[in-house]
């Protein structure tokens, strides 16, 4: 016996679809747990199919065949494909859609990068132009062959003078001097930033050229110092950390 004895008769009824009530529920529960009875059920359904061969009767009318052919013609294969489609048949479409989204993402990213590069190139060109302009200004100011003329009142003897241009926020200083007296050997002028409070800050050591001109361009300075004025002393060539009296020149500030 290939099936459980207590279920054998009921299994035949179940195969025929005529087992009802509690017997049917019990059978379904048993079938879920019993491979042997499931196999026997398949065989009983096969036996049951043979019963169909015992049915005698006329052939179906010809109109039934035409009815089927007409019905099939009304249902295009594309619609059938949709009905029979399984979830995994969408995988290629999902993959294609994902790739399309990724491609669009890359295209957008590429476009943004191109725009950034163009923007940076434009900025670099502008900065290059500004740098070139600044270089020309500095070269003009510092050129050894530059003609430097200080215009003063007519008939007045030339006086030593200096012009300090200071931007506190950038700690940037340009100092131009003219008509500076010659110095003794091993001496130099030293420029001092006189803050609104605190000790003078060294702002560069310089020696005038044969015409008495000199420049101090962007000396190292502490950040953000509020300047009251600038002053000049004579110091050793290497400069000093504190001014040596007397002060030979001093500005008015502002």
């Amino acid at each position: 016996m290939s099936t459980h004895e207590q279920f054998a008769d009921d299994l035949a009824l179940y195969a025929l679809g005529v087992l009802e009530g509690e017997g049917r529920s019990a059978m379904e529960g048993h079938l879920r747990e019993c491979p042997a009875c499931s196999t026997e059920l398949q065989r009983l359904r096969g036996d049951m199919s043979l019963m169909a061969l015992s049915a005698l009767g006329p052939k179906p009318p010809q109109r039934s065949r035409q009815r089927l052919l007409d019905a099939m013609a009304r249902e295009p294969r594309q619609a059938q494909a949709l009905r029979t489609r399984h979830w995994w048949s969408f995988v290629p479409w999902l993959a294609a859609a994902t790739l399309a989204i990724i491609a669009v993402g890359f295209w957008l990213q590429n476009r943004n990068l191109r725009e950034s590069i163009a923007r940076l190139e434009n900025q670099a060109a502008q900065q290059q132009a500004q740098l070139q302009r600044a270089r020309e200004v500095v070269e003009t100011l510092t050129a050894s062959d530059a003609l430097r003329i200080t215009v003063v009142a007519a008939n007045a003897p030339p006086q030593p003078q200096g012009k300090a241009i200071y931007v506190r926020d950038r700690s940037s200083l340009i100092f131009l001097a003219s008509n500076m007296p010659k110095l003794p050997p091993e001496k130099a002028y030293e420029l001092w930033l006189i803050p609104t409070s605190g000790a003078p800050i060294p702002a560069g050591v310089f020696k005038p050229d044969a015409r008495g001109s000199a420049q101090v361009i962007e000396p190292p300075l502490p950040a953000g110092v509020e300047a009251k004025t600038f002053a000049i002393t004579i110091e050793p060539e290497q400069g000093s950390s504190t001014p040596t009296m007397p002060v030979v020149m001093v500005g008015a500030g502002g």
């Binding site: 096969g46 036996d47 049915a55 089927l68 099939m72």
Partner: protein, 186 residues
Amino acid sequence: MERSRLLSELPTGAVGDTALLSAVRSGDQGAMASLYDRYSGIIYAVALRVLRDTGAAEDILQEVFMQLWRNPALFDASRGNLAAWLAVIARNRSIDALRKRHPESDLEDCILSVEPDLAGDAERSRAMERVRGVMGEMPSPQRSALEMAYFEGMSHTEIAQKTGEPLGTVKTRIRAGLLALRKAFA
């Protein structure tokens, strides 16, 4: 599609069910017509025997083949042979119609195991003769119980009430009848 058209142009019986079903999956109406020519007789006979109404039997015939046309993947070789599967589906749908109830079994759930291959006309004829022989040799109460369950969808309780026989006896007769059919093809 070309292969399918060639298949359906071959004489009935020259092409196996598997090849015809493959063509049906490709949308070949000719292959479907070949399957209809092969098995409509069995299906219609079962439906007519159950429903005793030609119009209703034609509806079952149409329904079964259209189910296969719409979704040929419902059947594959793991479900047994096509003729037996169609016969069981047709019988179950007919019983559902007779009892005016919604289909109780899903087509996809029906897996069966049966020996004879009914694809060829000759095999089908021999199998029919053998089944009718076995049924004819059964004791009348057994054949009657089996036919009431199969063709009328009667439960063993209904059969016992109708025949006045014990429930257990009815159950045993039905099962024994099915096993007798199996034995004839073993």
